[in-house]
Amino acid sequence: MTVIAIKDEFSRYPAGRYREDGPYNGQRFREDFLVPALQQNADKILIKLDGVRGYNSSFLDEAFGGLVRNGFSAAELLNRLQLESQDKSLIEEIKGYIKDQSNISTSV
């Protein structure tokens, strides 16, 4: 299992959707951390969300919903990504972005 602890490997201060929004944006987290981890053979990827000062919704949408826009299927993501946080709303919000993007992709 691949483990990504955001506070240790990325930043304690993630924010923003795109690279121009700051150094620790959602696009960068997706492209530099999530996509490489998903492209490796690791079956499950544990993402530890706790220990950061907060997430804005655009970071979460770009990082996780963006994976569906990149071509990963929602079913695969929901199966392989294991989200860990004491904040239940964070996990549900991320799953919502993955499912929403999947619905948009299938309805287009």
Binding site: Y13, A15, G54, S58, D87, S89
Partner: protein, 142 residues
């Protein structure tokens, strides 16, 4: 005589235990009610900050960061003891984060009018969250 003494002692100790736990329970309810008052004050403060941030002509990075951190802290506080006993719906917490952090990116920031959809939603979701907290407080802590 000894039997009477024993009964007296049992009553004294039993009474002390009952009073102790009643006091403890009252103190915990009081602490919980104070925590509710504090989170409501915090939510109103966050609402004001969000309106100031969104209606500013220029993007304010430090205000954006402060807003994101305060929203995160409030959501976490609502899911920890003693406030987790309020059982605020997760969906409401998600909508709160979405409404208050939706316009916090520098690349897409748009100054909002006071009657814009974003500002209205900030007021609406904050009111909804506070209503939910107050109803739960009444049902659980009173």
């Amino acid at each position: 005589m000894e039997y009477a003494n024993l009964i007296t002692w049992i009553l004294v100790i039993g009474g002390w235990i009952a009073v102790h736990f009643a006091t403890l329970s009252r103190e915990r309810r009081k602490e919980s009610r104070e925590a509710v008052s504090k989170i409501i004050d915090d939510l109103r403060l966050i609402e004001s900050l969000a309106v100031v941030f969104n209606t500013s002509d220029k993007y304010d990075f430090s205000c954006s960061v402060s807003l994101i951190w305060r929203v995160d802290r409030a959501i976490k506080t609502l899911q920890r003891v003693p406030l987790k006993t309020l059982h605020i719906p997760t969906e409401l917490l998600i909508r709160f984060r979405q409404a208050l952090t939706t316009n916090t990116d520098k690349s897409s920031f748009l100054a909002q009018a006071h009657d814009s959809e974003i500002v209205n939603e900030i007021h609406h979701i904050t009111d909804e969250l506070i209503d939910e907290i107050e109803v739960a407080k009444y049902l659980i802590f009173s």
